[in-house]
């Protein structure tokens, strides 16, 4: 059995394309072409060159010595925080902008929560000279002002999503509505491994460069391609999908997914989808999502805006249900402390999303000779004000 997507766009029970007919032509066009386009030599060449010269890849695989010593195991950090714009998100937007160009689209829309994906999309649109519209929840616009300013500097139009709970899930709804209203010239750059097939697979493939590099780098450092564990935080799950991608069907490599418990799983303010979610449909995908008994989608909570999504990508829902992945949830407080600790131990200030992945070592013990790769999905610049408030810095 494979943990990759099947021909029908499913990961086990999860995935598919539950979309209104209005979206069918666009999604179908993408589905028919994405693999062929990605295989084209000219596409691969352009993609790889941009990842190298523009994004700054390969990102280092860094042996975190003081951190490792503290927890009595060998921890490597995959430094996605060193990507241009500060997070892994740009791997996907570079890939999708090239895809959009080949599909002949001249208008780009995107959703964003914290603003990282919005910035990464605005960046590649500036690079290519393509119009960019980013939907962002009205509430998020207020709490992520610096990223709103960055998107504007990059030439994007930021449209507030005023419907529903006015956060990421509603920004995604608004982007989908825009796509319904603009069925011909527009490409929708989704920011995670969510949405209707083929998005989860396409985004995972663009992020797969993360595990592709880990294999090569680990071979150089440890003379083996496979770590014992790969650890990543999961909002929608794109950095995790990239970090797991080439290890999905290698059972010796343990997969650890870290979700945001917010104020605690039972607090009513949480984003731990695997613990709290049930099977259902969100944004065109059958997956696990947080919802009421009546099937209304509920608003998640996490101190980290990037993990504040009520669903997870279908790949991760399947990793959870099948038992292939080990799912751990981390509270706001544990994540914040882990972020501060990494700054002190290694001189790296992580994004709060990534801090969740770093926090598992307090309770989850590893063997001394285990090799554990943690995907450090982003840097903490965008989170400074949250760190400042939290620790009264």
């Amino acid at each position: 059995m494979s943990y990759q997507v099947d021909e029908k766009g499913y990961y086990g029970d999860f995935g598919g394309a539950y979309i209104p007919e209005m979206l069918y032509p666009n999604v179908e066009e993408l589905r028919r072409q994405y693999l062929d386009i990605m295989k084209e030599e000219s596409f691969q060449k352009e993609f790889k060159e941009l990842l190298r010269d523009y994004v700054g890849r390969p990102t280092p695989l860094y042996y975190a010595e003081r951190f490792s010593k503290k927890y009595g195991t060998k921890v490597y950090l995959k430094r996605e925080d060193l990507c241009h714009t500060g997070a892994h998100k740009i791997n996907n937007t570079v890939g999708q902008i090239l895809m959009a160009k080949r599909l002949g689209k001249n208008r780009i829309i995107a959703e964003t929560g914290a603003g990282q994906h919005g910035v990464a999309t605005a960046t590649v649109c500036a690079l290519m000279g393509i119009e960019c519209i980013v939907y962002m929840g009205e509430i998020d616009i207020d709490r992520q002002a610096p990223n709103v300013a960055r998107m504007k500097m990059l030439g994007a139009t930021v449209i507030p999503a005023k419907s529903g709970s006015r956060t990421l899930k509603d920004a995604t709804n608004e982007a989908i509505r825009d796509w319904i209203n603009n069925p011909v010239d527009t490409h929708y750059i989704i920011g995670s491994v969510v949405g209707p097939h083929p998005y989860p697979d396409m985004v995972a493939r663009f992020q797969a460069v993360i595990s592709e590099e880990i294999k090569v780098q680990l071979k150089e450092k440890e003379n083996r391609e496979n770590p014992d564990y790969v650890v990543a935080c999961v909002g929608g799950g794109s950095n995790a999908a990239g970090a797991y991608f080439h290890y999905l069907d290698t059972p010796e490599v343990g997969i650890i997914a870290v979700e945001a418990a917010g104020k605690g799983i039972d607090s009513g303010e949480s984003a731990a989808t695997s613990a709290l979610g049930k099977e259902g449909i969100i944004h065109g995908s059958k997956t696990l999502l947080m919802q009421s008994e009546d099937g209304q989608i509920t608003e998640p909570y996490s101190i980290s805006a990037g993990l504040d999504y009520p669903g997870v990508g279908p790949m991760h829902a399947n990793l959870f249900r099948s038992g292939r992945g080990e799912f751990i949830s981390i509270t706001d407080d544990a994540a914040m402390k882990a972020g501060l600790q990494l700054a002190k131990l290694e001189g790296i200030i992580p994004a709060i999303e990534s801090s969740h992945a770093l926090a598992i070592f307090e309770d989850r013990k590893f063997k001394e000779d285990d090799i554990v790769v943690v995907n450090l999905s982003g840097r903490g610049d965008k989170d400074l004000s949250t760190y400042i408030d939290y620790f009264q810095l």
Binding site: Y24, Q296, I297
Partner: protein, 255 residues
């Protein structure tokens, strides 16, 4: 299903209304249905409110939000509809997104529909392929007609496929747009209405999305069998409530 077929067999152009169950007040559902029938509406779509209606514009989003705040649930809707067939004869169709139906249980949902006398379903985010493969048998077991959408971008081949699996009518989305547009119909849109009518499909077509007044109703039904009004009706309910349902219907289709 027979009620839908009988209505479609009438020799007139049809007018249908969509409204959101539980809006503006939680207990309005049944009285709105009765008033619509009294005023000559041919069939009704009862909107099952959903938190994330991604094919809908602001008006229906807002009415769904209010209905949910009013405490509407799928279970409550079925309670409200209990006994409706003692008073109402026209076809009743439930229009809702798939997630609440999945949570209720697809079979339980269909069974409840049949029990209260619902004739058909419109589920915009349940694509025809998934329906055929996983759910068709259940819908048919309970005699429910599942209505599919087509749009100006739907290919001829796909329209023929949808026609082949449809029983009842085809829901023809007027323009590439979410619900509630009031821009009026361009020549291009009217050409699309004509193009579809010339395909001589098995199932009659009913136009929806963007019909807000007498003019757009007239244009939509020039070639199609009928038309559905949603947002414009809901806006009307907003300002003047149900005593004016009669005025609204008259403004679209004078007797």
């Amino acid at each position: 299903m027979n009620r839908i077929k009988n209505t479609l067999a009438q020799n007139t152009k049809l007018l249908s209304i969509y409204f959101t169950a539980g809006y503006p007040e939680p207990e309005d559902t049944v009285s709105i249905i009765k008033d619509l029938e009294k005023n000559g509406i041919d069939f009704i779509e009862i909107g099952l409110p959903f938190s994330d209606p991604l094919a809908d514009g602001p008006t229906i989003q807002e009415s769904s939000g209010v209905a949910l705040k009013n405490g509407m649930t799928t279970k409550k809707l079925f309670q409200q509809l209990e006994g409706i067939r003692e008073e109402v004869e026209i076809p009743l169709i439930i229009m809702g997104y798939f997630n609440p139906i999945l949570q209720f249980g697809v079979e339980a949902f269909c069974q409840s529909c049949a029990a209260v006398g619902i004739d058909g379903l419109i589920i915009p985010d349940l694509p025809v392929e998934e329906y055929n493969e996983k759910y068709r048998e259940i819908f048919e077991k309970y005699g429910l007609s599942n209505i599919f959408l087509i749009t100006p971008q739907t290919s001829e081949e796909r329209i023929r496929f949808i026609d082949s699996v449809s029983e009842g009518f085809i829901y023809m989305v007027s323009t590439a747009s979410v619900t509630g547009s009031t821009k009026g119909f361009t020549k291009e849109t009217r050409d699309y209405f004509r193009r579809i009518s010339e395909m001589k499909l098995r199932n009659p077509q009913i136009v929806g999305f963007g019909i807000s007044d007498k003019e757009t109703y007239g244009q939509a039904t020039e070639f199609a069998k009928g038309a559905i009004i949603g947002s414009a009706f809901i806006k009307h309910l907003n300002s003047s409530r149900k005593q004016d349902i009669a005025d609204f219907v008259k403004s679209i289709r004078p007797v």
